[in-house]
Structures are given as structure tokens and as C-alpha cells.
């Protein structure tokens, strides 16, 4: 087991090595504004038996959790995903392995029953770095996982239990959590990111047997920096081994960058059963920092829970798309049922990648603009109020730019891969992210819709009433038929009168 704690400050912020106190058990320093990243790396043998057994039957398993509360991203930790619980999964040779029971236990998810029922299949022919399956569920909190992690990782009754538990409690405040496992590394990596904010620089050794690295870094721009690279400078300390931090300066190519623009997402009113999601984007121009802006295309990546879906046939018409400021739907989860009600759907929902059409850069090409994504609600189960709420996470919006031929993006220490959309682009694509701004005062990156459903409080008479009216109608027609058969005389009489 290894541990890495990194405090990431904004560019220009730094701290003097003398401000840090390092001793055998930890590191202490002043209060700074930073993002704290905690990373634990486990060898397979160090894991609890249940998890170990599961992972032995798995080829790749990547969990990406993003909290619903808006957070400020700090370079180089810039990759973004729609808020919620994402799973990217490739089974091992035994395809009957079912990660769902353990995932439900660990995260409190409830819509995962088995890969064949709940997961969707990702295109593996397009780019080989994609996993085989995808799963998503809205999950506003990590509290279930925090408790699970405490029970699994903090040995009960040991001297370190309370310390371990208090460390893990910080997961409740995390804005992101990544768990990655693949058969090549045979290690499980757990990374949590706290929100950007003031905090004291402090890190302590979990146990003397664990190698713990503490870094305090910020982005730097040395003169030798290549355009596709991110420079990092700061201080690094290996707890227990070093008594003073050593300065570091390095750079690496990064696939996730900051576009320095923002967007909000909201549903146009009235929503009805065919709601339109409107994206308001602060700027129509590609990121100025991109070395090759002419290759940049603005994309939106949506994970839509099963309450709502896109109709890929409707989104196939160029004129229709153009009227919504969209260019093309690049990907939709195949096989999305276009008719079934939500309560019979077993798969999680659908993912969609759409290329947006920014207004031309001449003339009115400055300032905020909008694009609309037409969606459709499924029928939801009846309720006692006649309405239910559907929650739709914000999409991830980014400019996808192609780096120059020959550019390589080797794995970097802050890399976040398997984010869904990266599997839909080539290896040389750089994602310049727009930061999502919450639409409502609650600071959440989730759009809600009030969905009309059948009102159960008024449903008592439906069965009886329907049966009665149908029988009445039937009886009326039968009576008319009987009159034709036995009422011949009356017609004859009428004829005689004439």
C-alpha cells in the first residue's frame, strides 16, 4: 500500500519550504487555498477478500464519482464528468462475474443488478482504449461509501482505528472520487479530490509501514514548456524518510485543459413530456491557449438516466440540428428503447456525445450563446401527487482539439482517464473544459424536471369506471344489434305507412 497526498494551488501561489514542519509522523504548514488530492494504491493481496475475489474476475473496473455541488477545478486536475456515479467496466475471461452486489453494498446504488441487465455496451471498434461496458446512476453523496471504506480499511479495535476513521470521514466532503483497477497493473487505485478552498497544510502517516508522499504543487510555465504541456513546480516530502521538503519542477503533456469559459444548463419551460435542455455558453471561440485552435470542435457529453432519453432518429436531420445550434450527434448508446416506460427499463439509461455549433466568429461572434438539446421523458410510475421529479446531471462541455501529429500523451501523475468521452476520441485529442455554472441558487450541477404522472389518489375509480363504461358501450351496441334481428316488424310497419 502506498499513499500520496497532494495539495494543488493555483498558478502563481506557492509556499516557502521553511513554512513547512516535517517530522517522523507527518507534515504541518500554514493555511493555504488549494485542492487536496488523496491517493491510496493497493496491491491485490492487500484488499479485503470480497473485493479481491471480485477483481480477480475483472479485466478493468473504473469508478468515477462526481458530486452534485459545483466545484472549482485547478490545473492539472481538470477532467470533468457529469455529476453522479459512473462505472466503466470490462469483464475478465469469466463473463458471469457480477460486480453489482458489491457496488450496491459499497456505494448504496440501487439500479445495478447485473452487467447483462443494467450495463450498456460501449463501442470497442472505434478506439481500443475504451472499456466494454458503461453504467451510471445519479448519486448525490458518498456517505454510504465512506462507511463501507471505514469498515473495510480501518481494522476494528486497533490503535489506529479512530485515526483511520477520521481520515476517511473526509471522503464525505470530497467533490470527486476515482477508483481504478486493471489486470495489467494488478493494483487498485483510490483517488479522492476535495473542493478548492482554504485548508491547513497537514498530513500524517497512516501507519509506519505505508509509504506516504506529500506534495504541494502549483502550475508553472517554464520557458522550455511545449504548448501541449503543463508545467508543475512545488515541494515534495516522503514522510518518515525526509525531514525537509525537496523542490520539484517538471512538465508533462496533459489531455485535460481549461478552456477559460463557462456554461449553464437548464430546461426550457414548459417542459412537458418532451423537454428541451438549453445550454448557455459564455463564448463561441475556441480556447485561446490551444496551440491549434482551428482543429477545435465544441462537444457536449451527456449521461442521461433512464427517465429521459434522446431520439437519435429525430437528431439525425441537419436542418433540425442547425435550428438548435447543433452540428451532429457523434454518439448515442445504441439500442435505446424509444417507447418503454421507465419502470420496466433495466439498463441504466444512455450516453450521448453531441457536437455543438457555435455562432460564426465574425460579427455577433462574441458573448453568450445557446444551444438546445431536445429530449424525451419516459412514463414514470404513478405517484400520490400526480408528479415526480426527474434529475438530469449537467453535461460535460469541452472543446476537443487535435494535437499535432506525433504528439504523445503518456500517462502522467495526475491523469484521469476512462471518463466516457475519451473513449470516443482519438489518442491525440486534447479536451479543453468549460466550467459548469449552476443555474439555481442551490449550487448543484443537476437540472430537475417536474414530470406529470398518473395521480394514484384519484385512481380508485379507474378500473371500475373503465369496466363500467366499456360494458355499457358494448351493451348499447348489442342492444342495437338485437333490435336489428328482432325489430324487423317496426321497419315493415314504417314502410307500410309510407
Amino acid at each position: 500500500m502506498r499513499e500520496r497526498i497532494t495539495f494543488v494551488q493555483k498558478e502563481g501561489d506557492s509556499i516557502e519550504p521553511t513554512a513547512l514542519k516535517v517530522d517522523g509522523n507527518g507534515l504541518r504548514g500554514p493555511e493555504v487555498k488549494a485542492v487536496r488530492e488523496d491517493r491510496l494504491t493497493f496491491a491485490l493481496d492487500e484488499l479485503p477478500a470480497e473485493l479481491k475475489t471480485l477483481l480477480e474476475g475483472v479485466n478493468q473496473l473504473h469508478i468515477r464519482w462526481v458530486g452534485p455541488v459545483a466545484y472549482e477545478a485547478v490545473s492539472p486536475l481538470l477532467a470533468r464528468l457529469p455529476p453522479g456515479f459512473h462505472l466503466f467496466y470490462t469483464p475478465g475471461s469469466d463473463t458471469s462475474t457480477n460486480p453489482c452486489p458489491l457496488l450496491n453494498k459499497a456505494f448504496g446504488t440501487n439500479s445495478c443488478s447485473s452487467p447483462s441487465e443494467s450495463f450498456t455496451t460501449l463501442p470497442t471498434d472505434r478506439f481500443t482504449h475504451s472499456t466494454a461496458h458503461q453504467f451510471y446512476q445519479p448519486l448525490p453523496s458518498l456517505s454510504a461509501f465512506t462507511n463501507f471504506a471505514k469498515s473495510q480499511l480501518c481494522p476494528a479495535g486497533s490503535s489506529t482505528q479512530s485515526f483511520c476513521e477520521s481520515r476517511l470521514s473526509s471522503l464525505n466532503k470530497a467533490s470527486q472520487l476515482d477508483i481504478s483497477y486493471d489486470t495489467i497493473s494488478h493494483t487498485l487505485r483510490l483517488t479522492s479530490l476535495g473542493p478548492y478552498g482554504s485548508q491547513s497544510l497537514s498530513a500524517s502517516l497512516l501507519s509506519p509501514s505505508i509509504r506516504t508522499e506529500v506534495g504541494i504543487i502549483s502550475t508553472a510555465s517554464p520557458k522550455t514548456l511545449e504548448p501541449h504541456e503543463v508545467g508543475i513546480s512545488g515541494l515534495l516530502t516522503v514522510l518518515g524518510q525526509q525531514t525537509a521538503p525537496s523542490p520539484i519542477l517538471f512538465s508533462f503533456p496533459s489531455r485535460h485543459r481549461d478552456a477559460a469559459s463557462s456554461f449553464t444548463s437548464r430546461f426550457l419551460s414548459p417542459t412537458g413530456l418532451h423537454p428541451t435542455l438549453q445550454l448557455s455558453i459564455s463564448s463561441p471561440t475556441p480556447p485561446k491557449a490551444s496551440p491549434n485552435p482551428e482543429t477545435c470542435r465544441l462537444h457536449g457529453y451527456f449521461t442521461l438516466p433512464k427517465t429521459i432519453f434522446p431520439d437519435r432518429y429525430q437528431l439525425d436531420d441537419e436542418l433540425f440540428l442547425a435550428s438548435k445550434n447543433l452540428i451532429k450527434v457523434r454518439y448515442v448508446t445504441p439500442g435505446v428503447d424509444l417507447e418503454a416506460p421507465e419502470y420496466v427499463m433495466t439498463t441504466w439509461g444512455s450516453a450521448m456525445l453531441v457536437e455543438l455549433a457555435p455562432p460564426s466568429q465574425g460579427g455577433e461572434g462574441k458573448g453568450e450563446w445557446t444551444a438546445e438539446v431536445p429530449l424525451h421523458l419516459r412514463y414514470l410510475a404513478p405517484s400520490v401527487t400526480g408528479y415526480r421529479t426527474a434529475e438530469v446531471p449537467y453535461p460535460a462541455l469541452f472543446w476537443a482539439c487535435t494535437a499535432e501529429e506525433g504528439t504523445k500523451f503518456p500517462t502522467n501523475p495526475f491523469e484521469k482517464d476512462k471518463v466516457g468521452y475519451d473513449g470516443l476520441f482519438g489518442e491525440r485529442t486534447v479536451f479543453w473544459h468549460l466550467s459548469p455554472k449552476p443555474e439555481q441558487g442551490d449550487n448543484r450541477l443537476v437540472n430537475t424536471i417536474k414530470v406529470p404522472v398518473l395521480n394514484l389518489e384519484r385512481a380508485d375509480w379507474v378500473t371500475v369506471g373503465t369496466a363500467a363504461v366499456v360494458l355499457l358501450g358494448f351493451a348499447w351496441v348489442v342492444v342495437k344489434l338485437l333490435l336489428v334481428v328482432f325489430g324487423g316488424n317496426t321497419v315493415d310497419k314504417e314502410k307500410k305507412k309510407q
Binding site: G335, W476, V478
Partner: protein, 444 residues
């Protein structure tokens, strides 16, 4: 039209010569003006549709047409039409539309090829109208027959549906052709058409009992003097033996052979998806998005309950009983021998009214038979009554549409009671109209 409809009595020639030959009268004197205008009418709709599709984000073309043409593209590539999601039709339809998948690279030619399916549907409309005229002409003169055929031929709703690319018009021509073939005593042709239309859309099977019942020796050989009725009551056995006539056997054998041959062939070529999408889907479907059916709210309610909570008695499981009793048994028994066209209209009306799913496309199924019934109907004999019935039908439908609009576009929960009551109201009006149609059968 207002003037011509005033001559709704069975003796038009007595009244028309007294007035100067009006434009309306000359229009119906010969077939050409009517069919030419019906064709031009559809051509205008078709071209307008092309313009709207090319210039507006709101499409004229029906979504279903894109389903058919996608399926036709798969078929033209040697694939199964069921590769296209929501293709729920016989592969024959996709085969018919193979020209729509043809790409030349020339823009105008490609549009023409793509629209060829709509042209096919529009031509089917015209043929249905022509067959209507031929059936009507059996009991009235040509101009009057054409006047009634106009209800179909120059009906904007019919022209819109076919030029938007909905295949219901194709079914219209099959059903009228079936009726025409029966009335012409062309049993082989009738059998082929019956087998094919049931393969195409299932519901025309309700016509089989009516046709079989109608096909007694009196109807089949109207010129032969019937043997004088013996005073002795015929025994049940004799009646059964008399019922089994060569014509009836011929119809049964040919229609069943056509139906099963087509199905077996399709199953051999396309396998289970053919069965699933064309037939089984209608049994297992649970996509109860709101529609006109009186059962709709009930279906939504019961489909959402977990199996443990649902009551043992479910009326929607019995919905087929009143529907089939009326449309396939009682109505044909009572009406087929009195008037086959009116019986078929009443059967279709009952089938659609009592169906578990009912959308406005289904109205076309009985609309094609309407011109054959109207000449003897109380709706036309008493104009005020006819207008009142039409207004009632439109209003009750409008009430439903209003509730549906509030739900669909404004997001108001109108399922209960609004939409439910509106669908029951519309059902009631339809039952009443059906009763009037059946009452008219008694006066024939």
C-alpha cells in the same frame, strides 16, 4: 358539394335535369376531372412536403416513413428490415420501398427516388377511390358514385396521410379491393387479398367471417331462381351441410394458404425478429403512451404496479372479448347479409373503438369504407343529425386532444381525471355512432 349533397335522395336524375348543368355536375359527369384533380391534389401536397422538409426544422414527412425507408435501405443491402428499431411491419413493405433506397448521386433524382414510396401510397389512395366508385356504381349511376368516392379522393386528411408517407393508405386499397373482389364473386382474388391483408396488418381478419357469412348461394348466384322454400323446417345438419359451399371452401383454403405461405416465407428469411416485431409485439407491448383508447389509463395503472400488488382480475386482459365479439362475430352475423360494405364499416369501427391502443391513424381504417355506407345512412338522410354526429365526434376528440396537449406540452398531470374522462367520452360517442350505423343496417 353543398348542392350535390342536397340531392342525397335515391333519385338524383329526377332533380338534376331541372337545373342548368352546374360546374359541380359536369365535374362528376366523367371520371377524368375527379381523378385528375385527386392526383394533382396529392402532387401539390407531396411537393409542398418536399419544400417544407428542405426548409423547415419541423418536418412534413411522417417519422414512420423514415422507419420504412431505413428498413428498405437495410433490405437493399441484403440485411433484415428489423435491423431498424421500431420497424413493426411485414418485410413486404420494406421490399415495396426498395426504390427509396436507390442513390444516384444526382440530387433531384435522389429526392425523387426517396419520395417514390409516398407516390406509391398516393397511387394506392387513387386506386382505392376508383374501386370505391366501382362498388358504389353497383347501386347508383356513375356521377353519383363519383360524388361519394370524392369523400375519399379529395379528403385532405387522406391525402396528407399518404403524402406524409404513412402506409395506412396501402391497407385502404387492399380492403376495398377485397370487398370489390367479393362483390364481383372473384373468390380466388378475394382469398389472395384477404390472406395478404391479414399478413400485412392482422386486423382485416375480422372481415373473414363477414365475407364467409355473406357468400351464401343466394349472394353468389343472384340470377339463379332459388328453389321454393320447403314448408318443412330444415334440420341443423342440413343447414350446416348447406353452409359449406364450394365458394366458402375455396376462400378459406386460398386465404389461409396465402397467409401461412407468406408468414412461413418471412420466418424462413428473417427468423424470430419477424414474428416478434410484426405480431408478438402487439401482444406484449407495454408502451402505453396516452392514446384515444378507453383502456389507456387502466393499462398505465396496471403496468406500473409490481406483480405482487396487481389484482388477480385485470379488465385489460379481457379487453379483446367485447372487441372481437362485436367486430368478428355479432356485427357480421347481423349485418353481412344485409350489406357487406356497411357490415365491414361497422366491424372496423367497433374494432378501432374497442381496441387497447387507438391513434388517429386507425381512423383511416374505417374512413375508407365510409363512402360506401353514407348513401343509405341516417346521417345523410337527416342532415342536421349528420352534422350533429360529426360535431360530437370532433368535439369529444378535441376535448381529449386538449387534455393531451396540456399533458404532453405543458407538463400538467391531466391523466386523471381529464384524459381518462375524455377518452371515455370519445369512446361513448363512438359507441353511439356505431349504434346508429347498426340501426341503419336494420332499415336496409
Amino acid at each position: 358539394m353543398t348542392k350535390s349533397s342536397a340531392t342525397g335522395q335515391p333519385m338524383p336524375q329526377a332533380t338534376s335535369p331541372s337545373t342548368a348543368p352546374s360546374l359541380v355536375a359536369t365535374f362528376f359527369d366523367r371520371p377524368l376531372p375527379l381523378y385528375l384533380s385527386a392526383a394533382v391534389f396529392r402532387l401539390v401536397f407531396l411537393l409542398y412536403g418536399l419544400w417544407q422538409d428542405a426548409n423547415s426544422p419541423v418536418k412534413y414527412t411522417d417519422i414512420d416513413y423514415l422507419v420504412f425507408t431505413d428498413a428498405a435501405r437495410f433490405v437493399s443491402q441484403g440485411l433484415s428490415p428489423y435491423e431498424r428499431e421500431t420497424y413493426r411491419y411485414t418485410p413486404v413493405l420494406a421490399w415495396l420501398l426498395i426504390p427509396t433506397a436507390h442513390v444516384t448521386g444526382h440530387q433531384i433524382l435522389d429526392v425523387a427516388f426517396f419520395s417514390s414510396g409516398k407516390v406509391l401510397f398516393a397511387i394506392a389512395d387513387l386506386i382505392a377511390g376508383w374501386l370505391l366508385e366501382k362498388v358504389l356504381a353497383k347501386s347508383m349511376d356513375g356521377p353519383r358514385a363519383r360524388k361519394f368516392a370524392t369523400i375519399w379522393l379529395l379528403n385532405p386528411m387522406v391525402a396528407t396521410i399518404s403524402t406524409r408517407g404513412s402506409s395506412e393508405g396501402l391497407l385502404g386499397v387492399l380492403v376495398v379491393a377485397l370487398l370489390w373482389a367479393v362483390l364481383e364473386r372473384r373468390v380466388t382474388l378475394a382469398g389472395l387479398l384477404l390472406g395478404f391483408s391479414v399478413h400485412f396488418k392482422i386486423y382485416p381478419f375480422i372481415y373473414a367471417p363477414a365475407i364467409v357469412w355473406w357468400m351464401d348461394n343466394e349472394s353468389m348466384f343472384p340470377n339463379k331462381t332459388n328453389p321454393p322454400k320447403s314448408s318443412q323446417p330444415t334440420s341443423l345438419t342440413t343447414r350446416i351441410i348447406n353452409f359449406i359451399t364450394p365458394a366458402r371452401i375455396q376462400l378459406a383454403v386460398i386465404s389461409l394458404t396465402t397467409f401461412s405461405t407468406l408468414n412461413m416465407a418471412m420466418y424462413l428469411i428473417y427468423g424470430h425478429p419477424f414474428l416478434q416485431e410484426t405480431y408478438l409485439h402487439h401482444v406484449t407491448r407495454i408502451d402505453h403512451r396516452h392514446n384515444f383508447s378507453p383502456y389507456n389509463t387502466q393499462l398505465y395503472l396496471s403496468s406500473s404496479l409490481p406483480p405482487s400488488l396487481s389484482p388477480s382480475f385485470q379488465i385489460e386482459k379481457l379487453a379483446f372479448l367485447p372487441q372481437l365479439l362485436l367486430s368478428a362475430l355479432l356485427i357480421p352475423l347481423v349485418s353481412a347479409k344485409k350489406s357487406l360494405p356497411t357490415s365491414m364499416l361497422a366491424q372496423t369501427f367497433a374494432f378501432v373503438t374497442f381496441n387497447k391502443v387507438c391513434t388517429s391513424q386507425y381512423f383511416l381504417w374505417y374512413m375508407v369504407l365510409l363512402p360506401l355506407y353514407l348513401p343509405q345512412s341516417s346521417f345523410l338522410k337527416n342532415k342536421k343529425f349528420g352534422v350533429a354526429a360529426l360535431v360530437l365526434w370532433v368535439l369529444s376528440q378535441g376535448a381529449w386532444l386538449q387534455q393531451g396537449f396540456e399533458l404532453e406540452f405543458l407538463g400538467r398531470s391531466t391523466f386523471l381525471p381529464g384524459l381518462w374522462l375524455a377518452s371515455l367520452g370519445f369512446f361513448g360517442v363512438n359507441c353511439w355512432i356505431l349504434g346508429v350505423v347498426i340501426g341503419d343496417v336494420g332499415r336496409l
